[in-house]
Subunit: 140 residues, 4 copies
């Protein structure tokens, strides 16, 4: 059972991260899969029109954050402790990048999320990431 | 022997990455160590004034790129294939973040660079990354 | 199209890695998925009867090797260049560990393989790994 | 201040890990650096006489464990949660492999340790790893 509906998360996220407003969208959010979208704009592009590595990292990072928060409820202090990311293909020019995030483990003190990144409309992933979030101890 | 002087790299980098102009500076570049600086500004900050994870990733990434390029000469196609990054401490509010990059391996087809990130003026690293760059085959 | 049948790989593997004979078995090998098995024996066990971290690493490593070799044909020089592994749950005592390996990228000079490890008979993965293999240049 | 002397750790380690007795030795242990040695024998060798990837992983893993335990005292439940390892060079044939481990972070719930692996007598590292250990909550 998730602790947010898709609509609730769509309005909660820009409240806690106002600086990324307009940059990321949530396309789907259920227990099996979270799909987030990096809206390709000039800020994230390398020469040639492809999305930059840091922008893809940012998308993977926020996807793992949203997927974790959907399960534990709002925990402002949750922080990334580790990310391992493989960049495998050049993203398609001009296409949005989509993240498919799946929570592999939700423990008391950490979550592990697997994220595959795709250029919209193509089948082979452009990048693959695994992220660990530290979850603060519940307050008694 | 590096293939760029510090001054040459300082003028070359904004030519090939105009979109990061003003964001990163090179403080030191020699065979032992490269030191780069992320100039803390509003674009890279989380609420509370600390540098965001994606901004730290971006600093680690460009440091590994510069450290590799300093050794092989300008190779526009060099691309990040992997990054593993541990976020260990919250960066100090308002301080620039410095990257200390050391090339651990320079092979014919890939480089591996170790990067420690520090908040300026503090001793314990805020993050630790290892990055792999793929080097395109030399043209015959 | 794989370059080995399951039977061919089952007889080829102990030839090139005689030191792991009896340690690993190949349960399934097709284009979608490779399943390998670590036969739990005393050599791989921690006190309490669970499989050790190095034994799980070894299983992930050989699975990525077999999955890559199945696609490129026998290339004795193929070597692991990177592994990132998350240990998420304690393996079940006394159960074999199974690796589910999927090749995410097969390039000219490297492959990236995603591996999920399970204790046989349980649903949640015990570990998750991503491995990069360097592929030697084809001889002209 | 470490909670073990070198001698204490040398006799404690084979008690808690009897299965690795004779496989690993501790050459140096102080606040700055831990040096451990993988004694090259037939079990760890690949054809050609070089140390295998899983054996190097095992050395990095136990080094991070010992370096962490030296700081927190004996905590039998401490477990590896993540390892990222780059294999950079082929180990020298017949030489022992040495691990140089440095604890980068010691928090309440996790430690992060950087490990460089060398073939004894050579200067360039053969592998580089970063390991995270989860530390169980102190019992009240």
């Amino acid at each position: 059972m998730l602790k947010f509906t898709l609509k609730e998360m769509q309005s909660y996220l820009p409240e806690v991260f106002p600086q990324v407003r307009g940059m990321f969208a949530i396309d789907r959010m259920d227990e099996e899969l979270l799909v987030m979208r990096l809206v390709a704009d000039d800020r994230h592009l390398r020469p040639g029109g492809t999305v930059s590595g840091p922008a893809m990292f940012g998308l993977a990072d926020i996807s793992a954050y949203v997927a974790t928060m959907a399960r534990i409820g709002p925990e402002a202090l949750t922080v990334t402790t580790h990310c391992s990311i493989d960049f495998m293909r050049k993203p398609a020019s001009g296409a949005d990048v989509l993240a498919h995030a799946r929570v592999l483990k939700l423990g008391r003190s950490l979550s592990v999320t697997d994220v595959l990144l795709y250029s919209e409309g193509t089948e082979d992933p452009v990048a693959h990431a695994s992220l660990t979030y530290a979850i603060p101890p519940a307050k008694g």
